[in-house]
Symmetry: C2
Subunit: 345 residues, 2 copies
């Protein structure tokens, strides 16, 4: 080992640090490439309109556990999380392409269930499954889905357009998917300890569905369009509110202030969080996998949508010099920090 350069453990960089290092040397050559890395999706100029392309991987043992993940749900979720990225660009998804690496321990029937879930999501969101690659894997399953969408050039919303004074809005509620995961993990442990134990899942139907079968907020994109409101910045909430606010602030070169009391949480999520001795706000800020939308709108535009009960103003955009903070219910100002995935740690 003497002559070897000391190597850097990727877990020491975290997700975002690693991505920054790897994507740093990238150069864009083609005029058709409007947006490369750094947003929810890439944007390609097709002359006629813009194409939106995004990819998400789901890896067994990291993103899902076969012990408690029905394959049909997994297929559904794998498609939905990709569509969510397309909606987050204010675009319409039209196609998905499926890469599937599976070990021989999966049966045809299991994979048919997986496909049935993918096709159910395709049906619901009116997208076409147009191809992909199916291959062997030494262990487990990896799903790699690419979603393709389209949008008019001037309707695309990036992470980068937020301006000081804009209102930050969140759709739906946050933290429930993470609490659903906690329940599933607990029941897995209980089952391992005593396989005859019945799983105690009945009381948790809502948060389990949020974890196992999330939906993408197509309806919010349609609502914004009807209201003729174009957000100044938008992102989907896959890693938790804190991380996504920071993405918008970084790309928009702004700060932001979030009010804890304004963060939408569902009663059933809060109940479960308390069961686990976790602060519901922590679940909302860092839990992730809610696939709600976070967007910034001008104050004038906010008035056009404020009557919508599913849209929640959680804070506002500030000058970059003010930083990004949470104002807690007890009046404290806490700096927002991103967790991203820490599965590598």
């Amino acid at each position: 080992m003497n002559n070897k350069k000391k190597l850097t453990n990727i877990s020491s960089l975290g997700e975002f640090g690693l991505i920054d290092r790897l994507t740093g040397p990238i150069k864009i050559r083609n005029k058709e490439t409007v947006k490369g890395v750094g947003d929810d999706a890439a944007v390609i100029d097709n002359g006629h309109h813009m194409s939106i392309i995004t990819k998400d991987l789901l890896v067994e043992g990291v993103h899902f556990d076969m012990v408690y993940t029905p394959l049909k749900h997994l297929g559904y979720k794998a498609v939905v999380v990709n569509l969510s990225d397309v909606y987050a660009m204010n675009a319409q998804p039209l196609q998905v392409i499926v890469g599937l690496a599976v070990s021989a321990r999966y049966s045809l029937e299991a994979l048919e269930e997986l496909y049935a879930g993918m096709l159910l999501a395709c049906e619901k969101y009116k997208v076409d499954l147009v191809g992909g690659d199916t291959t062997a894997s030494p262990t487990g399953m990896t799903l790699s889905i690419t979603a393709v969408g389209k949008a008019k050039k001037d309707s695309i919303v990036y992470r980068s357009g937020a301006k000081p004074g804009d209102i930050l809005c969140v759709s739906g509620n946050l933290g429930a998917a993470y609490c659903g995961l906690l329940v599933l993990q607990r029941e897995k442990q209980t089952f391992k300890a005593n396989p005859n134990m019945q799983p105690g899942l009945n009381d948790h139907a809502y948060i389990l569905e949020r974890q196992l079968k999330p939906e993408a907020r197509k309806d919010i994109i349609e609502m914004l369009q009807k209201a003729a409101v174009k957000p100044t910045a938008m992102i989907d909430i896959s890693d938790g509110l804190a991380s996504e606010v920071l993405h918008i602030c970084k790309q928009s070169m702004t700060g932001a202030t979030i009010f804890e009391e304004k963060i939408p949480v569902d009663r059933r999520m809060a109940q479960t969080a308390h069961e686990f001795n976790i602060d519901p706000t922590t679940c909302a800020l860092s839990g992730g996998e809610d696939y709600e939308l976070l967007f910034a709108v001008s104050q004038d535009d906010y008035k056009k949508i404020e009557a919508n009960e599913d849209i929640h103003p959680v804070g506002y955009i500030t000058e970059a010099s003010l930083g990004s903070h949470l104002l807690t219910s007890s009046g404290q100002q806490v700096k927002l920090t991103a967790q991203g995935w820490d599965a590598l740690r």
Copy 2:
């Protein structure tokens, strides 16, 4: 187990059987979707031109072995095999999107090497790396690359247009990538038996490069365009000549006759095949990973390109009722069979 339905082992179906079963229930909804599953790539109508989208997975332990695969080569190859699918549609690749699942045993420096290889391929083929997803993996590495290209509507070549009488042509030579793999696998065994042994790779530079750092035949597509020749059907040779001829025949509803003596093989490949007691023709028919192009052209069009020394007529298209055969050098007629990947077996 009494009440359980008997499950079907996916290895009993093979790659193509599995794909047929899984993609059977797919319906196409959107008018923009011109071609879904069943060709080298999907085709999407953008009004202005067509977008071509394709995806290939590379899985550690299935498609590559870290013992003998330099990461820079791996990155290069991962991009090239996807571009090859776009060229096989007679289209121009413009963007790639990278999905990377890695275990924590990979260092930042290792992943930087991988990216350097991907970016080198991007530079050579003038495509942009526009995004993707980087995530953890419990074991090993999975690379999922999506390539996006464009083409004029009437220049796209599918697998399905071959007509009886058309000449089947192959670019370059076949079987060398597979022989390169055999050498690498042998040296791995030798090294395991005696780690002080120097690997005997020097004599095999050509076939090793064919395996570790293949190129996509952009030049052939450009040559065809200059000659104003549009193949009637085309596919890239990733699974071996036999499998690809059968794909064209199936999609075109034709048969084909291939002449063993016409199959282009490199002297260095043949030499290695003999070392391993394998028939060079078998390597060409079933070895795979050559990433050459197989295409059918009308007899008139063939005359326009026959002077090109890198284009080899290997046979011709027949009526479907005649089946797909190899005529061996000794005059025997042998039915062509597809192997596809059998890694699941």
